[in-house]
């Protein structure tokens, strides 16, 4: 056991670097994903068939193929002639993660906006609000509170998804664990790794719970701050109950 801790002590700087890369991928992927989710979630609600069709094609393309297919596509195909895009591997990872989980998020955004009660939409018409006013001042804040639990689940999925990026040469936490395994025993290296991932996932969940409580407070709805700490992560599928 002591040799394990000695090896861990020696490998600690690299392990910290790995955690930082994993966090960068998670943060970058989540940022891109939320932009993609809101953009395409809103586009998919347009009446214009071209805008809506475009949104649907993009969403289905990224939801319908596996994350790894997208990762390999961006990694192997983008540097080739018609594109000639030599992205750093970390950007490639962020691109694939953000687009993949963003597409799932777009369905969540679309569904949540549709779930805002009809009376709210009618009220904005009665107040003769413009389309943008209606969306940003009335509908979206309410939809935001509805979508946060699902977005929380997607964020955890995204974090878990970052563990495959070592296949495209990125040295993330999982890659460092594979190195640590050689110096320690298997149980120690991967057990520690799972604990680190769990800790990150749990912290993200706490943050998202706090965001949800804040969003509800701004709508004048209940929810104690204390509950955000004690609440266990709310489990759900990425887009459970939504098909397509």
């Amino acid at each position: 056991m002591n040799e394990n801790f000695d090896a861990l002590w020696r490998a600690l700087p690299q392990l910290v670097d790995g955690v930082i890369i994993t966090l960068q991928l998670t943060a970058g992927g989540a940022l891109l994903a939320i932009v993609v989710a809101i953009t395409f979630g809103l586009l998919a609600r347009f009446e214009n068939i071209i805008l809506r069709g475009f949104a649907r094609i993009v969403i289905e393309l990224f939801r319908g193929t596996s994350l790894l297919v997208q990762l390999f596509f961006f990694f192997f195909v983008l540097p080739l002639p018609p594109f000639n895009l030599e992205l750093p591997a970390v950007f490639t990872g962020i691109l694939a993660l953000g687009l993949n989980y963003g597409a799932y998020g777009a369905e969540v955004v679309r569904g949540s906006i549709g779930a805002v009660p009809a009376g709210q939409w009618e009220a904005t018409t009665a107040l003769s609000m413009s389309r943008t006013q209606r969306m940003w001042r009335v509908i979206f804040p309410q939809a935001w509170a509805l979508m946060l639990p699902s977005l929380n689940n997607l964020l955890i999925q995204l974090l878990k998804g970052t563990a495959v990026v070592y296949l495209i040469t990125i040295v993330d936490l999982t890659a460092e664990l594979n190195r640590l395994r050689v110096q320690t025993d298997v149980y120690f290296a991967y057990g520690l790794g799972l604990l680190i991932y769990f800790a990150i996932a749990y912290l993200l969940t706490l943050g998202m719970n706090a965001l949800e409580t804040r969003a509800k407070h701004r709508l004048g709805q209940g929810g104690k701050w204390r509950d955000t700490i004690t609440t266990a992560p709310i489990p759900d599928a990425k887009g459970a109950g939504q098909f397509g």
Partner: protein
Amino acid sequence: MNDDNSFWSWEHAAAAFPEILEKFLTVTLVVTIIGSIIAAVLGLAIALGRRTAPRPVSALITLVMNFIRMTPLVVQLLFAYYVFTTVPPIVLGTIIIGIHYATYMAEVYRAGIDAVPPGQWEATTALSMSPGRTWTAVIIPQALRSTLPALANYVISMFKDTPFLMVITVVEMVRQAQLYGSKNFRFVEAVIIAGLIYLVASYLSSLLARRLEKRLEYTTA
């Protein structure tokens, strides 16, 4: 081949397609089906265990379940691969992906069980049914029906996660595409074919899931 500089080569596409389709049929589909069966059965066991076991046991089940759900499948696969070195990777991978998704399906079952109206429980008490019969004859049949669409969704998710098995040397469809690419220095066709097969398969399965959902709506109404 003289068109090596063009973006898309039909010759490479034709050469890669049979290999990729074969792995899709013999590995990806098989892992998804067996993994789903493991997940569906184990998930139900977890959900029942959490409901019926004494407090400390059910708290422990919940903790382990959350831990498995919140940690990456890839690390779990690697962990198991280096611990159970004698088990063939494909068998191990199928079991691990089944366990991973069982933790998701357990929550679906839980919601389904919670959705059974209290009157049904009261009726079984009134008829003095044993706990065993209450579950098997009254609660589970009703709970299962409302859970099927969500379970189908997780099967589709699992199907898209099967390429993760390549980290423990399993050659499934996407890995086969990558192998073709690195053997011939032609990634475009192989990766796009793998993507297209995924697209077609998940489109068909989501149609199937939607039909299932519609049918259940009629029978439960």
